[in-house]
Symmetry: C2
Subunit: 198 residues, 2 copies
Amino acid sequence: MASPEIDALTQALSRLPGLGPRSARRAVLHLVKKRETALDPLLTALDRVARNLATCSTCGNVDTTDPCGICTDPRRDDRSLCVVEEVADLWALDRARLFPGRFHVLGGRLSALEGVRPDDLAIDSLVGRVAAGGIDEVVLAMNATLEGQTTAHYIAERIEKYPVRLTQLAHGLPVGGELDYLDEGTLAQALRARRPVA
Amino acid sequence: MASPEIDALTQALSRLPGLGPRSARRAVLHLVKKRETALDPLLTALDRVARNLATCSTCGNVDTTDPCGICTDPRRDDRSLCVVEEVADLWALDRARLFPGRFHVLGGRLSALEGVRPDDLAIDSLVGRVAAGGIDEVVLAMNATLEGQTTAHYIAERIEKYPVRLTQLAHGLPVGGELDYLDEGTLAQALRARRPVA
Ligand SMILES: [Zn+2]
Ligand SMILES: [Zn+2]
């Protein structure tokens, strides 16, 4: 019905989380009607991100520079390191400026079911950062799922020989809850009440 | 916190209808994590639309060709013309292939309050199309608002001297309802029960 170009744009937008076919059509209509104020700025922004996209070789964050903006931010505390499963979790914690230190993205969680082993995650590089020294506290911010907690235990075993305080997010996360879906209040509370790993 | 490029993309997306700041962040995360399957296709699609965007000089539709795909579609009935206020209304009616004829987009509705006069709308060009002949029926598909109905009356007066059947969408549209927000069932029913303008 619409032109192939407009159909393709509608389809590309409808694959974004939170946008179904109907809202994608509405978004496309908005874009084509507001060329100067909507379409062109989005195109420019998308193009700039596409040109500069990089995975941080230090922490695993996705950003437009390597090392990423968090790893190079001089206002952050080098001595605190927060370990998360996914980039989405880093963004969730960083969104409300909840954690003032650095991050480490594992790229997943251990899973017997899905065949995810320690070598599949950025665990050796985490241990390397801890072994290099200068870190006082490692916060394990895994999801409150069985696999997340298994991953946290495994990392705790790998790190316990180093002189760092090892903490995890307070229970208070809803059981089975995925970090990335929590509101900032819950995240802030869980972070405030973080406790040493037993 | 995020890089300026990623912030700019988040902001550009959050201005789309249906996407707030939170879902825009989630969409950006999806885009940067799925470069090949999400970001690049969206960039390509957006770029193609931006390069080809055109307002149809016949009907006022926005498309990637001029005349638009609806005006050039040989399967459509030249003798039926559906007049709508906005491109959004054309898309709403066209979405479910409800109307098999051609369209005419006025670009708004008469409004004393907002100072919108007949000359501000594509009414002369509509009368021109009708005067040129070959049209049997003109369907006035204005919104069921005071201004939409005023616009319909004005157009009816301008067109009544021509040998066309002049119809309007059945009442059955919710009072104050905007065409673009109605479900397809309601639109289909209103179109089926269209009646001659009194
Ligand atoms: Zn980094
Ligand atoms: Zn057209």
